[in-house]
């Protein structure tokens, strides 16, 4: 039995269907990320797990208990909100104790819990302040403290870091990860930030328009995205999509890339059955920028690297690498190069492509051709 099972869960408000049948299951101690664009239904799903929204149909089980008809307080969960939702009229101490009070935890035990939580999150010196007197980061910690105090079987986080500035966000991100490793609790974490998703999650559910487009480990989602949407959503800068015509040569998939001066043939992995159906047709070639790089940076031990010529249009230094924009088949394509090999606009550069990492998609169904 999983720690959390979501079975064919749907949600509608009147005639608008917000969630169209979600199926997810995670094991105890796993860190599940719900990621997707704004309005795709992440918060709605989380609220339904928490019992704050009604489930239109389907079933949610926490541990081995179906919780559809349980109120939030009987679900043994704790939740951290984007706005932190600290009770403004109570001190930090009272904020943390509120839930314990309601559950009739004896005072001495409350004190112990508060002390422990405060120590874990390093908020001991803030205990007697009101939320108004705290910085954003401090409020964030208190909100986590309130959740930790309850020691629930399931933690829910709704974009807890999105109100923090970039630096603090990175800091808190690793703290949350550390906390998870130490406490081993099961976590469901909503974010629309794909970096947060990749760094924190054991399991990621990529959502779009009320559906889960792909559910898997971060590596699976990165290496083998199920469709164009997932491929484009995960990874930064995002994957290049180049329309190409698919050919077959010696059992390999072959495509042609036109850099504006010459057409270059690229030999990809051995062709699969599903790809074979598309031979002679238009498909979409997906290449991540980091798989398109200068020969020097390419992992030379990998044989079979393809070399491509291209004209530099724009260079964008990021520090460690420089993003080089070139054109293939009329589409702007980003390559990640060593700063020294980036060239300048107008110059010809030589790029290498790892053909085993290149992906092909059906432009109609948008599914990856496995």
């Amino acid at each position: 039995m999983g720690a959390l099972s979501i079975r064919n869960v749907k949600k509608s408000f009147g005639n608008t269907h917000i969630l169209k049948g979600i199926d997810l299951e995670i094991e105890k101690g796993q860190f599940l990320i719900l990621v997707g664009p704004s309005g795709c239904g992440k918060s709605t799903l989380l609220n339904m797990i928490a019992g704050l929204d009604d489930i239109t149909s389907g079933e949610i089980a926490i541990g081995d208990r179906v919780v559809n008809k349980l109120s939030p307080k009987d679900r043994d969960i704790a939740m951290v909100f984007q706005s932190y939702a600290l009770y403004p009229n109570m001190t930090v101490r009272k904020n943390i104790a509120f839930g314990l009070d309601i559950r009739k935890v004896p005072k001495p035990e409350q004190e112990e819990i508060i002390a422990r939580v405060a120590k874990t999150l390093q908020i001991e010196h803030l205990l007697d302040r009101k939320p108004m007197q705290l910085s954003g980061g401090q409020r964030q910690r208190v909100a986590m403290g309130r959740a930790l105090a309850r020691n629930p079987t399931l933690f829910l986080f709704d974009e807890p870091l999105s109100n923090l500035d970039a630096k603090l966000r990175v800091e808190m991100r690793s703290e949350i990860k550390l906390l998870h490793q130490r406490l081993g609790t099961t976590i469901v974490y909503v974010t629309h930030d794909q970096i947060e998703a990749m760094t924190l999650g054991d399991r990621i559910a990529v959502m779009k328009d009320g559906e889960v487009r792909q559910f898997g480990s971060p590596q699976q989602i990165y290496d083998a995205p199920a469709d164009l949407y997932v491929a484009g959503f995960i990874g930064s800068p995002s994957m290049n999509f180049i329309p190409v015509q698919l050919h077959e040569e010696d059992g390999h998939a072959v495509v042609e890339l036109d850099n504006g001066r010459a057409v270059q043939k690229v030999r990809l992995s051995p062709i699969s059955d599903s790809q074979r159906d598309f031979v002679g047709k238009q498909v979409v070639l997906g290449i991540r920028p980091e798989q398109l790089t200068d020969p020097e940076s390419a992992h030379s031990e990998r044989g079979n690297l393809q070399t491509l010529q291209a004209t530099v249009a724009i260079t964008e230094p990021t520090g460690p690498d420089t993003l080089v924009t070139v054109t293939f088949n009329g589409i702007k394509t980003v390559a990640r190069c060593h700063p020294r090999a980036a060239g300048a606009p107008g110059q010809q550069v030589e790029l290498t492509l790892d053909p085993t990492k290149a992906l092909l998609f059906d432009p109609a169904s948008e599914k990856r051709l496995a």
Partner: protein, 303 residues
């Protein structure tokens, strides 16, 4: 092992409470609102179609009361008075309120104190206002005597007992009471105008009066609208002020629909006619407010 727990609580009491309590607590208000407004309006409407006099009767009698109402000179006089009073009251209050707000917006010292002075009449009952002005406008001992004492012996100021002018005394008292409030509305509106717009206009070389007339005041359109609606609302149901100031007199010179309604419905035993006049007041209120509200809603929707 799971069987027993899976089935555990099929529902929980607190969840039931979450669903039921809000509705339960809201229920009395729903009842009060539905009965207090909507059922009662229907009821009044029904009464207006009966021949009720001292006691309500519920047999359908068609439009007799409306026929009587529309043939009633006093009613038309009251409606006319309402038109004069309402029109002037709204116009003067808006003008005065806007003027004071603009002047007060010029970084005035003691602004808070001045604002407090302008607004205190709003805390008074219309009965108190009416009583005070009735005394001030007293033809023998009031303003007229003051003018005489100051040497203007030729002055006569008997508006309050002069049928041709009495309605204007109601306007004066009404404006005295409400214009400060309009000022507060406009001032809040002025404070809400984006500073950067004004700065940009100043950069373009616009003078202060131009900035006000061309940029700021037009942007106060919503404030005009709500001020207008409140004033219109006050005017239509205005009752206590006239009762205290003139009692509707002299004769019927300051009679208003609200007084007509009160007297027929409660003191003259003409329930049906009272109900018909109440319905007409409702229509008047709707006629004034609805078109404005509608046009504003449409504007908003168009963006």
């Amino acid at each position: 092992m799971t069987a027993s727990r899976q089935g555990a609580p099929g529902f929980s009491l607190s969840r039931l409470a979450d669903v039921i309590l809000p509705k339960l607590v809201l229920a009395p208000t729903v009842l009060a609102c539905l009965v207090g407004f909507y059922v009662f309006i229907g009821w009044t409407a029904w009464l207006s179609f009966t021949e009720s006099r001292m006691l309500p009767r519920y047999e359908w009698a068609g439009l007799v009361q409306y026929v009587e109402l529309f043939g009633n000179d006093r009613w038309w006089g009251a409606m006319q008075n309402l038109g004069v009073f309402g029109g002037l009251f709204i116009l003067v209050s808006l003008t005065l309120g806007l003027l004071m707000a603009v002047l007060l917006d010029q970084k005035i010292r003691f602004e808070g104190a001045i604002r407090t002075l302008y607004l205190y009449p709003m805390a008074l009952s219309f009965i108190v206002t009416g009583t005070a002005w009735k005394w001030i406008l007293n033809p023998g001992l009031g303003l007229e005597k003051l003018a005489h004492d100051w040497g203007f012996t030729g002055v006569t100021f008997d508006w309050i007992i002069n049928p041709d002018f009495a309605i204007y005394t109601v306007v004066i008292a009404g404006v005295w009471q409400s214009s400060g409030f309009v000022m507060a509305l406009f001032l809040a509106g002025l404070r809400g105008v984006d500073d950067s717009i004004i700065k940009a206009a100043q950069m373009d070389g616009a003078s202060l009066p131009t900035i006000y007339t061309r940029i700021i005041i037009p942007s106060l359109r919503p404030v005009f609208l709500s001020a207008f609606m409140i004033l219109a609302h006050i005017a239509v149901k205005s009752f206590d002020l006239v009762m205290a100031l003139t009692g509707g007199g002299p004769g019927f010179a300051t009679d208003l629909p609200s007084i007509f309604m009160y007297q027929h419905g409660f003191t003259r035993g003409q329930l049906g006619l009272g109900a018909a006049s109440a319905m007409m007041m409702l229509f008047t209120a709707c006629a004034v407010v609805m078109p404005l509200l509608y046009s504003e809603l449409r504007r908003e929707r168009r963006g």
